[in-house]
Amino acid sequence: MASKKTNQNKVTSEDANSRRDFIKKSGLFTALALTPPSLVMASEKKWDEKIAEYLETVPLSIEVNGTKHNLNIEPRTTLLDLLREQLQLTGTKKGCDHGQCGACTVHVNGTRILSCLSLASMQQNAQVTTIEGLAKGKKLHPMQEAFIKHDGFQCGYCTPGQIMSGIACIKEGHANSREEIREYMSGNICRCGAYHNIVDAITEVKEGGKEI
């Protein structure tokens, strides 16, 4: 599925007036302001809206869970907000926006990162895997199965981040003992306090030796 810019919250006609007011005052449009007819025409055809959108965005090519997206995004958009608000992949969670809680952990080119600390525009041509990309239909990833079996969560909000981190923890070679798992999973806060069961789940996946 190749999607174009999917900002479903695009400004609609009801608020376009304030939008055009802004553009009239914008320094970029001083030249246009000197030629009133073109401004009027631009305004009437809402070209100013389109031009502003163009000026405010940067192109981004990104692959998420195997799907390529060619997007125009705001440079200020974080990878986390791109996933949640524009691609509707809300499995990746927002917990702090400061890289302090781990809820937004995703894999970029096979490495775990905090998606709230990465601008989406920095991920040109990156391959991103989120929690939605782990299961094959109803067939769960071994880590997802282990989290259910060992009850590695309660409210479920930190869970996607824990699972993405747990997989990476094993791949990095940091799951050789319960102590090591605890250390390398400490970037993911679970306020429900399911740590004991999370370590059980990761240990089982590591020892099970299944491909992850």
């Binding site: 007011d21 969670k93 809820a103 929690i131 782990l134 769960l140 259910i148 996607p160 306020r191």
Partner: protein, 734 residues
């Protein structure tokens, strides 16, 4: 053991695949983004507020302040009292009552534009002197003007003072913040005059009533969705100003508005466990019998709501003692109103009581558990009622064995492992078992599935899983055939999730509704041709077939029964309430937390080498989810004991550590070895299943267990939480 006693969480698949939908995640066409801008002073009035730059910023749709707000109709009607339940009326006027109080709502078409525009709002203030420090505001101390706020006395007032051995101590707990991982969030919209909220609420029906009151609309017109909550721990027990703000914005724009608090705002705007100072007076005979106990607490509240919790309650009944006095006072400060946080009151109170019990045991040269056993309460002396059930002694025994209590020496600092000082400690917890009237609809479908409906929600303890287990047991179905519909208005009315009452309330309602459904199905089946003449008591329902107990060949399937009666499904709705009999008893859960600490005497570093949490919670419906809740409660208590404190810069009345880098909560590395033990004996009185409640008592008693273990390891008594290394290192000598 029943077939359902260890089932996996029924919402597990949704939660591990990211498909569980939390409030801000509902796909809503045309949704726009909002945030709140907070005041930068703690008390005063807004002189000017400059919103122009924000209004002109790209994509901005509205900036709402007290100057241009369309005030909700209910603002005028609100009582001019400080009773709890009258929250801050957002944008009502120019007054500022606490730091970071919302003074503007900014709404824009995208998240990024909204955040930028919000940064452009500037306000000037008429500052007034604020008061945020409990210790310096004692002159404002007052009683809470409700029955629960009254002083309590049994026997002689402050009778401890006449004892052979007297202990007088003071304990402090700081402000502690719930901080669920999911931020407080809402999508608000209107359909005509009907508000619709997707919000982080622990009580769908409570939120409906609050919103109806604020906007002056009928309760039945308020639609609330809270199907998944990313934790709450009490934070979702209030309808907060941010929810009202989003509704105001949505109404103004006639568009859905999404508002997610920043983590920083979670520290200032949605409640906390209040800073509390407690004084304990204990009196005992030389051989260890308590003769007097006085427990006084002074806790903070806000300037506009009188918040209280049961901080001193546990001291009235947990030990056998003839002379008991308790007093509870509040001090209004210039902060947001506190809200009950997991183990409310008791968690705070148990820190003082169970620390003092430990201190007294040392004074008497008694083992702390022996001292408690000497003062074991055979009945509830506060209510003068028998216990419905009490397996506290079994909790002591179970914990002592698992933690290795026999290795403990009463002399502090006398046990070492390498360079580490070893200490053992324990703390008792308790919490009342409550049961609220609850309606549940139970529906059998032709395909054999059972649908259970209730508006109660599940913030993480596993309510849906519990409902599934009970429904499957009663009807005799595999758990896979049970479908749960919950967490939204329009369903049969359930209680707020809180006070450890959900299983007792909703589980009982599921139990009763399913039994009723079963009897109605059998009654109808007895009239069918294939079962005619067989007594109802001789019929049984199993796996979708009603048959004679004596002759299985005489049977009718549910599908046939439905079609022959021209029914699509078979349903009952039932309101379930506590039995009158229950009032004759005192019904409490009990817990005992045991910890083994290792303390590095050079660095003051504290490690929890082993934590064992034992509980008498009546019947355990599901071993897996209950253990998870007990593990989690203990972790919450570890945070309270060792890490959590919201530090305020009182010069400005604002928090210093309003983020997860500076406000420490337990992480995986902090939890070395954890065990859970349930007595798992049915309570004969509490409810049909014999459960007693778990969520709160899972935390209550953990903080004092740690403090007591640290004393045992080091000889250093820490009476002000959290027990950070600086408090250890100053006195420990190598």
């Amino acid at each position: 053991m029943s077939k359902t006693s260890n089932i996996n969480r029924v919402d597990g698949f949704a939660k591990v695949t990211g498909s569980a939908t939390y409030s801000a995640e509902y796909k809503t066409a045309g949704v726009v983004y909002a945030c709140l801008v907070g005041s930068t002073i703690a008390k005063g009035r807004i002189k000017t507020i400059d919103t122009k730059k924000a209004e002109w910023a790209p994509g901005v749709l509205a900036v709402i302040t007290h100057l241009n707000v369309d005030k909700p109709a209910g603002y005028e009607k609100a009582k001019d009292k400080h009773n709890f339940g009258q929250p801050l009326q957002i944008f009502k006027d120019d007054s500022v009552l606490y730091y970071d109080q919302p003074i503007a709502l900014v709404i824009a078409d995208t998240f990024e534009r909204m955040r930028y525009a919000a940064s452009l709002i500037k306000a000037d203030y008429f500052k007034e002197e604020h008061s945020t420090e409990l210790k310096k505001a004692a002159e404002k101390e007052k009683k809470v003007e409700t029955d629960k706020g009254n002083d309590y006395h049994r026997g002689e007032h402050d009778g401890y003072k006449n004892a052979e051995v007297i202990l007088e101590t003071e304990y402090t707990i700081p402000t502690e913040v719930h901080n669920p991982m999911e931020l407080a969030n809402i999508i608000a919209k209107w359909e005509g005059n009907k508000p619709i909220l997707y919000t982080k609420s622990q009580g769908v029906e409570g939120t409906r009533r609050s919103v109806a009151g604020v906007f002056g609309v009928p309760v039945e017109d308020v639609e609330v969705h809270a199907e998944y909550l990313g934790g709450a721990f009490g934070m979702g027990l209030h309808t907060w100003p941010y929810e009202i703000a989003a509704l105001i914005g949505a109404k103004k724009l006639n568009r859905p508005v999404k508002l997610v608090l920043h983590r920083e705002q979670m520290f200032t705007n949605v409640g906390f466990r209040p800073y509390t100072i407690q004084k304990m007076g204990l009196g005992a005979t030389k051989d260890g019998k308590l003769t007097g106990l006085t427990h006084e607490a002074v806790a903070m509240t806000s300037s506009y709501e009188d918040f209280m919790e049961g901080t001193v309650n546990m001291s009235r009944f947990i030990y056998d003692c003839p002379n008991v006095s308790t007093r509870y006072r509040i001090v209004p400060l210039d902060t947001c109103t506190p809200i009950w946080m997991r183990g409310p009151g008791e968690a705070t109170g148990s820190f003082a009581l169970e620390s003092a019990m430990d201190e007294m045991a040392y004074k008497l040269n008694l083992d702390p558990i022996e001292f408690r056993k000497l003062n074991y309460a055979e009945k509830d002396q506060e209510q003068n009622k028998p216990w419905s059930s009490k397996y506290l002694l079994e909790c002591y025994e179970g914990g002592m064995e698992r933690i290795g209590w026999k290795n403990r020496k009463n002399e502090p600092g006398s046990v070492k492992e390498g360079n580490w000082l070893v200490g053992y400690g324990m703390g008792t917890g308790t919490f009342g078992c409550y049961r609220s009237p609850t309606s549940v609809k139970a529906k059998l479908l032709a395909n054999g599935d059972l649908v259970l409906q209730c508006s109660v929600n599940d913030m993480g303890p596993g309510t849906a899983t519990m409902m599934t287990a009970i429904g499957a047991e009663v009807i005799g179905l595999p758990a896979e055939n049970v479908i749960i519909e919950m967490g939204k208005s329009g369903l049969p009315k359930g209680p707020t999730q809180g006070g450890s009452a959900t299983t007792s309330s909703v589980g009982s309602a599921v139990h009763d509704a399913c039994n009723l459904l079963l009897s109605k199905v059998i009654e109808l089946a007895s009239k069918s041709s294939s079962l005619k003449g067989i007594a109802i008591t001789d019929l049984t329902f199993e796996n979708g077939v009603i048959s004679s107990k004596k002759d299985k060949s005489k049977s009718v399937t549910l599908a046939t029964l439905l079609s022959s009666n021209k029914l699509e499904d078979f349903e009952v709705e039932n309101l379930s309430k506590a039995a009158e009999e229950a009032k004759k008893y005192s019904i409490y859960s009990f817990s005992v937390h045991f910890v083994k600490v290792l303390v590095n005497p050079n660095l003051g570093k504290i490690r929890l080498a082993h934590v064992v949490s034992c509980a008498d919670i009546g019947t355990v419906i599901n071993q897996k989810t209950s253990a998870g809740q007990m593990f989690g409660g203990a972790v919450g208590g570890i945070g309270m004991g060792l890490m959590e404190a919201l530090e305020i810069d009182h010069r400005f009345g604002r928090p210093i550590n309003n983020n997860f880098a500076d406000y420490h909560v337990p992480v995986n590395a902090d939890i070395e070895k954890q065990e859970v033990f349930f007595v798992n004996k049915k309570d004969p009185i509490s409810n049909p299943m014999g459960t007693k409640g778990l969520g709160e008592t899972a935390l209550v008693g953990m903080a004092p267990a740690i403090a007591n273990a640290v004393f045992n390891a080091t000889g250093k008594r820490v009476r002000d939480l959290p027990i950070t290394l600086d408090k250890i290192i100053e006195t420990v000598k190598v």
